[in-house]
Symmetry: C2
Subunit: 559 residues, 2 copies
C-alpha cells in the first residue's frame, strides 16, 4: 500500500487468491449425479478457510474460497455435464443449510476485499440465474435446516426453494439486526424484485433475527413450499424431476472437460495460451493482450466437442476471466487495464461465423454464454479499461466487444490504413450487458438508428471511419499516437481511485435497469457505503463486535 490512509480494519496479509480449482480439490462441496439430477452438497470444512488462523467456517458459513469452488462447480455443470437438467443445492450437514458469509472473515477483512468478495459472490449467484434462463439448467434449493443471510441469498438465486418443516428450520436475512450491514449479495433485491415479496413484509422479515418458517414462509413468498422432514427428500426428488422436464438441455453426455489453464507467471507477467498480462507498477496499469486464433478452429458442433476446452472461443475467454479475477483481488493498486488484441481478425470472424451458425447447439450455447459472462465481468470490474486499437490488431466481431466495453478506445490512424475494426453478427445482441442491451445499443442510446447502420456494414472500418461512426473515442494519427496515449494513461492514474470507481459505475450502464444492475448499482453501492461506516466496521461497530465481548455502540444520526 503506497497511500497514506488505512482502512478501518487493515487487510490481513495473505497469499494471492487463485480462482482455478476442480472437483477433486474441493474442500467444501460435493457434486453427485443421478441421471438428469445433480446435487451440489455444501459441507464446509471449518478449518478450510482461506485464512484458517483468523476464522473457522462454522455452520456451513462461507468465505471466498467456498465461493470459488461453487463457481467452479457451476462451470463444470454447464460444460462437463450436459446430461444434467436440474441442480439440487443442498447441505450435507444435518439441520443446517448455510449460515451465510462468515462474520469473523468479514470483520477481519479490509474494505476492498469485502467489496470484491461480495461482487464475486453476486456474479456467481447471477450465473445460476443465467444458467437457468439461457441454458435451461434449473436450480432447486433444498433447505434442510438453518438458512440465514448469504445462505438464503444463495437459495434466492435458485429457481425454486423448498424448506423442511421441522419446527425450527427457517429462512432469514438477519444482517440488519445482527450485523448492521445489508444482505448485500442480492438478498434485498431478490426478495422484492424476483420473489416479489411485499415491501412491508420484506421490511419486517429483514429485521427478524429468527426469520420465518413453515406455512408463513410460503404465504409470504419467501419459499415455494415446505415439507415435513419425513417427506422432504421425496418432495425434493420429485420437484427436481419436474424442473428437469422443463429443461432443453441434451439430458445426455458427453460433455467436454475443463482442464487447468496453467498460466506461466514470471514476476509481473502472466502468460496463458492466448492472454498475456503485463503489470507496470510504476504506471499502475496492466496491459492485457488477447491473441486471435492461430490454428484451425472448430466449425461444427462435432468439432467443438472434439476441440473441448482448447477451442479458442472458450479457452481465450476462460483465460481473460481468470486474469480479470486475479487483478481484482490481488492487484488493487493497478488502476487501469489496457486492452489489446493481436493476430488475424479474419480468424476471429471465422470463429464468430461458427458460433453464430451453431448457437443453438448446447456446447456452442455454453461457449457463447461464457463469453457473455466474461464480458460482463469486464463491465463490472472497477478499473478503468482503455482499448488500444493498433495496426495488427484483431478487434473484430467478438473481440470488438472489448472495444465497446472499454471506458475509452483509441484507434491509431496510420497512413496505410491497415488498422481496422470489423463487426460480425455476434455484435448484434449475442452478448447483452447486465442491463439487457447490447454494448452497441448502450453506446448509441442517443442515436439508435446507428446500431443497425454499423451492423449492416460488412467491410472493416478504418480509423477515421470508426471514429466517425462512433465506434472508438479518438483516432490520433501515428505522429500524435504515442504522446496522446501516454498522456491519457498518465492523467488517468492521477485521479482519485474512488471517484473513478463511482464515475465508471454510473457511466457504463445507461438505459434500462434490471434485477442484475440493481444488485450491482443500488444494493452494492449502499452496501459499500455501509461497509465503511463506523457503525459497521468501527471499533464498536456491529460487524466488529459480533460474537465478541461487548455490544455495538451506534452513532444514531441517520444519513
Amino acid at each position: 500500500m503506497s497511500g497514506p490512509h488505512e482502512d478501518f480494519v487493515e487487510q490481513p496479509v495473505q497469499p494471492p487468491v487463485t480462482f482455478e480449482t476442480s472437483p477433486d480439490q474441493y474442500k467444501h462441496w460435493k457434486l453427485t449425479f443421478e441421471g438428469p439430477i445433480a446435487t451440489l452438497g455444501m459441507d464446509v470444512q471449518e478449518d478450510g478457510g482461506l485464512r484458517p488462523n483468523d476464522y473457522k467456517l462454522k455452520l456451513n458459513s462461507y468465505d471466498l474460497g467456498v465461493d470459488i469452488e461453487l463457481a467452479d462447480a457451476l462451470q463444470r455443470l454447464r460444460f462437463e455435464h450436459p446430461e444434467v437438467q436440474t441442480v439440487v443445492v443442498s447441505s450435507l450437514k444435518p439441520r443446517i443449510f448455510c449460515a451465510g458469509a462468515n462474520i469473523f472473515m468479514l470483520g477481519t477483512s479490509g474494505h476492498g476485499f469485502k467489496v470484491n468478495f461480495c461482487k464475486f459472490t453476486n456474479e456467481t449467484r447471477l450465473g445460476m440465474e443465467d444458467a437457468s434462463a439461457e441454458s435451461g439448467l434449473r436450480f432447486l434449493a433444498a433447505l434442510n435446516g438453518i438458512c440465514a443471510g448469504g445462505g438464503y441469498e444463495l437459495a434466492l438465486a435458485c429457481d425454486e426453494i423448498l424448506l423442511v418443516d421441522d419446527g425450527s428450520a427457517a429462512v432469514s436475512l438477519p444482517e440488519t439486526p445482527l450485523l448492521g450491514v445489508l444482505p448485500g449479495t442480492g438478498g434485498l433485491t431478490r426478495v422484492v424484485e424476483k420473489r416479489k415479496v411485499r415491501r412491508d413484509v420484506a421490511d419486517y422479515f429483514s429485521t427478524l433475527t429468527e426469520g420465518v418458517r413453515g406455512k408463513k414462509a410460503v404465504e409470504w413468498r419467501f419459499v415455494d413450499a415446505v415439507h415435513l422432514t419425513s417427506k422432504f427428500a421425496d418432495a425434493v426428488a420429485a420437484r427436481a424431476q419436474e424442473l428437469a422436464a422443463t429443461s432443453d438441455r441434451p439430458g445426455r453426455g458427453p460433455g467436454i472437460t475443463l482442464g487447468p489453464l496453467s498460466p506461466a507467471i514470471d514476476g509481473d507477467r502472466i502468460a496463458y495460451r492466448y492472454v498475456t498480462g503485463v503489470i507496470d507498477r510504476e504506471k499502475r496499469h496492466c496491459e492485457l493482450t488477447i491473441a486471435a486464433p492461430d490454428s484451425q478452429e472448430p466449425a461444427s458442433p462435432k468439432e467443438f466437442l472434439a476441440a473441448g476446452d482448447q477451442a479458442w472461443a472458450l479457452r481465450a475467454f476462460r483465460e481473460l476471466d481468470d486474469a480479470l479475477l486475479r487483478l481484482r483481488l490481488n492487484e488493487p493498486e493497478i488502476g487501469t487495464i489496457v486492452l489489446a488484441a493481436t493476430g488475424d481478425p479474419a480468424a476471429v470472424l471465422a470463429v464468430d461465423a461458427s458460433l453464430d451458425q451453431h448457437a443453438s447447439h448446447w456446447l456452442v450455447r455454453e461457449i457463447i454464454g461464457h463469453i457473455r459472462r466474461t464480458l460482463k465481468r469486464v463491465d463490472l470490474t472497477s478499473r478503468t479499461f482503455f482499448a488500444l486499437v493498433k495496426p495488427g490488431n484483431a478487434f473484430a466481431g467478438t473481440l470488438a466487444e472489448l472495444v465497446f466495453a472499454a471506458d475509452r478506445a483509441y484507434m491509431q490512424h496510420d497512413d496505410d490504413e491497415t488498422n481496422t475494426i470489423q463487426l460480425s453478427p455476434m455484435n448484434a445482441g449475442r452478448y447483452p450487458m447486465s442491463n439487457g442491451l447490447s454494448r452497441l445499443e448502450v453506446r448509441f442510446l442517443g442515436d439508435p438508428g446507428r446500431v443497425e447502420e454499423v451492423l449492416a456494414r460488412r467491410e472493416p472500418f478504418v480509423a477515421p471511419e470508426a471514429e466517425e461512426a462512433g465506434l472508438v473515442f479518438s483516432a490520433p494519427d501515428e505522429l500524435d499516437w504515442d504522446d496522446e496515449i501516454r498522456l491519457a494513461l498518465e492523467e488517468r492514474c492521477t485521479f482519485s481511485p474512488d471517484a473513478l470507481t463511482g464515475m465508471e459505475a454510473n457511466l457504463r450502464f445507461a438505459g434500462p435497469e434490471t434485477m442484475e444492475t440493481k444488485i450491482f448499482g443500488r444494493l452494492t453501492a449502499w452496501q459499500n457505503w455501509i461497509f465503511q461506516r463506523p457503525n459497521a466496521v468501527g471499533e464498536k461497530g456491529a460487524l466488529t463486535t459480533y460474537g465478541r465481548e461487548g455490544r455495538p455502540s451506534f452513532d444514531w444520526r441517520r444519513t
Copy 2:
C-alpha cells in the same frame, strides 16, 4: 450526538435550517417577468452563505441556502405565475453562470449534511423536470459564462441548454479530477441518460477540468446550441418564446399567493394548521399527524382559486413537506417517523373527488403535483416510516398514500370496527413514485391483479379486511395493540441507522428504474460512499485539500 463516533470532519454548529422564504427575502436570485417568460437570474451574494464565516460563495457557487431560494422560486412560478410558460435560468454575473456547489462549504460540512444537501438539490432539479413534464413549464438554461459542476447539473435539469460562444465559456463536470468526488447532483446520470451522450465521450468529459465549449459542446450533445455573444440574448429570447409555444399553461393570471406557514414551535413540538410534529428524543422518534379538512373545501376551479393557499390539499401537504425537510436536516437522530391521520375521512374523500374531477385545471394540476412531490419526499427520506391506523383515523384516498409510503402500517382491529381505510380514484396513479408506478402497483408487484381489485372496492376496509387485502402490514387487536406497537418502535430504534438507510432504499423502489431512481439509487449511493472515503474527506483527501496548500494524497487501491 450521543454515539461514540465522529465524522471525518465534524459538522459545524449551526442554527436549524428553515426552508421557508419568499422573493422579497432572496439574497441570491432575482425573478423577473416579461409576458410568458420568466427569468431566474442567479446572483449569489458571496457573504450570504448559511455559514458566512466558513466560506464565501464566490463565482456564483452555491450552498443549501441558495438552493432553498431556488426551490421556493420554482414553487412560486408554478402557483403564483400561471402566465409564465418558459423560465430562462441564467446568471446576473458577467461571464459566470455558476461554478457549482461551494467546495469550502462541502469540505467543512459533516457527512450527513453533505448527503442531505445533495438530496435536496437533486429533488429541486428533478422538480424542474417534473414541472416541464407534468405542468408544461419549460426551462431554458442560458449559459452566459463559466458553467461548472453543480452549475452544469442545474443546466442539465433544464429542457434545453444554450451556451454563449465567446471563446472561453464552457460546460464542465470537473469533480473527478479536481475534487475526487462525483458530479452527484444528477450530473453523470443526466449526461448519459437524459442527453444520451456516448459513454466514452462522457467519460472523457468527466475527467476534463476545463470542460468543452463551442461547436464541440453541441456536437457531443452537452448543449443544444451555441451563439456568439452579440447574438446570445436574442437567441435566448427567441428560443424562450418557441418553448413557450409548446406549453399548455394558461399564459395568463391570476395565480394564487403562497403565504408563510408560520408553524408554532414549542420545544420539541411543531404545530402547523393541519400538521403536528412531536419529537420524543428518548425514543428517537417523531409523531407526525396530519388532520383531515375541518371546514368547507373548494369544489370547483373557481373555488380553488378563491381559497388559494388555504385549500387543505395544498396547505396540509406544504406543511408536511416543510416538516419532513426540517426533520431531515435538523433532527438527524430522530430515526423513526410515526405517521397518523386524524379527522373525518369523508372530508378527505370529498377533496379527492374535487381534485380528480378538475385535474386538468392548471391550479388543481399544480396542487396534485405538489402532493405527488411531497409523497416522493416521504419515499426518499432516509428515516423509517411507520403508519399507525387507529380509530378516528383519516387515512382515506390521498392520505392513504401515506399508509402505502410507510415501511410498515399497523391497523388497530377494534371490536366495533369503526377503524377503516378507504381508497379513492386518487390512489389509481395520480401520485406515481419516482419509478413511475403507483404505490399500490409497487405494493402488489407480486399480485398485480390486486391493484384493480382494491381500487374497485368503494366501501371502506375494516382492519381484518385491510390486512387480508394486503393494504397494511398487521392488524393487531385492541388488547395487543399497545404492546405490539411499542415493541416494534423500540426494536426499530436499536438497529444500525446506516443499515436501515440502505435497507429501506433497497426495499422501497421495487419494479422499474427511471432516471430519477437512478439518481437517488445508483448515483447518490456511490456519492455517499465516496463522501466518506479518506481519498475525498481524509486529512489529505481531495475535497479537504482543494484550494488550500498541499495536494491530495491518495490511497491508490481500487475498490
